[in-house]
């Protein structure tokens, strides 16, 4: 795409995804055209099966589109090798998942540190940033615990800390509050809003949660794999 702007973090062009698990093709996405700009706090909503998670997976390079292209931070994802994609995700994208998805054998500190280790950040800097991040998400005192020794809210805080600690340009959050009680969910949402405001990171949520929808400054509704509406508040 010739006319992507400097501030366009994600551009999807005619993105289509067809699943064919049992020989019966299912269109998960039908020609999605979308541009997301740097610093947005956007929620992608829609009923189950509307294609929210599939779209997040494709714009992060976790999955490949059947047709169409995705530009992420100016690069075409489908043109990258497996290693390039891994490196690119490590350097540019932070993930927050509904099921937290922490590495079970690593402690809280190690989980947060892991991505920076992959990026070869020097030890001293790594430790300073992890400590600061754990303090900012309210996880002091549990640094040496394993994920299984934490509550759901604490695990999601670790996931947020892991996602943002290396200061990626984009945070993709797939139903981040779905497994949390409303108070914890609200706290974490507030934390992410603050991060968005303070650091300018782009947050993209896939959600059913009305609280997230209210907080989002842009609301994209998907239905049957197509954009049904796109509202900016």
């Amino acid at each position: 795409m010739e006319n992507t702007q400097q501030s366009d973090v994600i551009v999807s062009e005619d993105v289509t995804k067809v699943y064919d698990p049992d020989g019966i093709p299912v269109n998960a996405l039908n020609g999605i055209n979308l541009t997301i700009q740097s610093g947005e706090f956007t929620a992608i909503v829609g009923p189950s099966g509307s294609g929210k998670t599939t779209f997040l997976n494709i714009i992060s390079g976790l999955d490949t589109p059947t047709e169409g292209k995705v530009w992420l931070a100016g690069k075409v994802l489908s043109e990258m090798s497996g290693k390039e994609l891994s490196d690119f995700r490590r350097d540019n994208i932070g993930f927050i998942f509904q099921a937290y998805n922490l590495i079970p054998v690593l402690t809280v500190r190690e989980n947060v540190e892991y991505i920076m280790l992959l990026a070869s950040v020097p030890k001293t800097e790594r430790h300073e940033r992890v400590s600061a991040m754990l303090t900012s998400v309210g996880l002091e005192g549990v640094e040496d615990r394993l994920p299984t020794q934490l509550s759901g809210g604490q695990q999601q805080r670790v996931a947020i800390a892991r996602a943002v600690v290396s200061e990626p340009a984009i945070i993709l959050a797939d139903e981040p509050t779905a497994n949390l009680d409303s108070k914890t969910g609200a706290d974490l949402l507030e934390m992410m809003r603050e991060l968005n405001t303070e650091t300018g990171m782009t947050f993209i949520f896939s959600t059913h949660d009305p609280m997230v929808m209210e907080s989002a400054r842009r609301l994209i509704t998907l239905r049957d794999g197509k954009i049904d509406s796109d509202e900016t508040k």
């Binding site: 490196d87 490590r90 998805n101 690593l106 892991y114």
Partner: protein
């Protein structure tokens, strides 16, 4: 960090780790025992064969080995023997005379191999005196004494004190015959030798065959059989005599050596079967482990772990388990081989190999019984982990993270 994850995964899945390790430990121990046992038996066979019969190295007159003849002799053997004795690693040497003839006791006659031995040297080299099962060795007072194999005694219905007549041909072309008194019966453990051989004092044999101080063979015994090649070369170099042929036992008894090597190759099939079972066990557990952790690998890839790092993670886990299993297997293998080398296993019936009888078999503790299982267990574990490691490295993150 990948190594740290690998370590922790090993302890996290204790049951699976134990199963994988057990397959490797049992495989290593069995393989080590197999080698130790087989090497022990072959060592016993070689030791008996060489010590009792042919020695470790032989020196002959040129062409004697290919076409033995009473005329192909070694002159002035004493200085040759002294030169050999001076070589490092040589334990002893002894001269021998060989001739074929007819042996008779009373009306019984049979073909015999007459061996002339220097009793003093033969005792040092091959513990000849310890093979006497009845009677004694030659006295210093007379040359007309003979010692015969126990089976030959049975054939000739001879016993200690029997008159024994030898007919043969002397080196000067004359008829060689003389009467001897049987003073001893020997049992060497070598069936063929015991069935055919009669021994005379070296001087008596020289007199009978008119050899005038000459001999047919110098048998050399070395302190470490594994150094035979080096010592053979050194003897050749030091003697520097083209009229003499120096050969290690592997050349002297080529057919025996070849048969033994073929036997050993047969053992390799047994080892391969053990390792194949180990490899299948490891493949199964590692593959299951990878399948169970598909979601985790998907996550690791999602957050930026490269396919090579995922591959390395699976590989490291198997390598760590393999190394630990090898250490444990080596302890077990060495322990059992040691027990078997000390106590051995007594067979209900004696086993015959190459004409030699063995009643008790011993294992051997050696480096081969550690190095071969180490290499094969480690390599086979690494080889079979390639597939699961590649499978893990190629996982599609989005698909993997949908699995439970």
């Amino acid at each position: 960090m990948i190594l740290k994850i690998a370590f922790r995964n090993i302890f996290r899945q204790k049951r699976r780790t134990i199963l994988t390790a057990l397959a490797m430990i049992v495989g290593f121990t069995l393989s080590s025992l197999f080698i130790g046992w087989s090497d022990g038996i072959y060592s016993d066979i070689i030791s008996t064969f060489t010590r009792n019969r042919i020695g470790h190295i032989q020196v002959h007159s040129e062409d004697y080995r290919d076409r033995p003849s009473i005329y192909k002799t070694i002159r002035d053997y004493e200085p040759i023997g002294e030169t050999i004795q001076d070589i490092s690693g040589v334990e002893a040497w002894t001269p021998r005379i060989y001739a074929a003839g007819l042996g008779s006791v009373g009306e019984k006659s049979t073909a015999v191999q007459v061996v002339g031995v220097d009793v003093v040297r033969e005792n040092i080299a091959t513990q000849f005196d310890q093979k006497i099962v009845k009677g004694r060795l030659f006295s210093d007072t007379t040359l007309n004494e003979a010692v015969i194999g126990n089976k030959l005694a049975k054939i000739l219905k001879a016993e200690e004190g029997s008159d024994f007549v030898i007919f043969s041909q002397a080196a000067d072309g004359s008829l060689a015959n003389d009467l001897y008194k049987i003073v001893g019966i020997v049992e060497s453990g070598d069936d063929i030798t015991d069935r055919t051989t009669c021994y005379l004092n070296l001087a008596a044999a020289q007199e009978l065959f008119v050899l005038n101080g000459r001999i047919h063979e110098i048998v050399v015994i070395v302190s470490n059989i594994n150094h035979v090649g080096r010592i053979t070369d050194k003897i050749k170099e030091n003697l520097n005599d083209s009229a003499l042929e120096v050969a290690p036992w592997q050349e002297v008894a080529k057919s025996f050596y070849t048969a033994m090597k073929t036997d050993q190759q047969g053992d390799a099939i047994g080892r391969f079967v053990i390792l194949f079972i180990v490899a299948m066990g490891v493949l199964n557990t590692v593959l299951m482990s990878v399948l169970e952790r598909t979601r985790e690998y998907g996550l690791l890839k999602a957050v930026g772990t490269t396919p090579v790092q995922i591959f390395y993670l699976v590989f490291c886990e198997v390598a760590i388990i393999a190394l630990a299993s090898i250490v444990v297997g080596a302890i077990f293998g060495t322990f059992f081989n040691y027990l078997l080398s000390v106590y051995g296993v007594t067979l209900s019936e004696e086993m015959t190999y190459g004409g030699m009888k063995f009643g008790t078999m011993h294992a051997e503790v050696n480096m081969r019984s550690l190095i071969i299982p180490t290499l094969t267990v480690f390599c086979s574990a690494m080889l079979v982990s390639l597939y699961p490691a590649i499978k893990a490295a190629r996982i599609l993150p989005a698909k993997a993270m949908r699995t439970h």
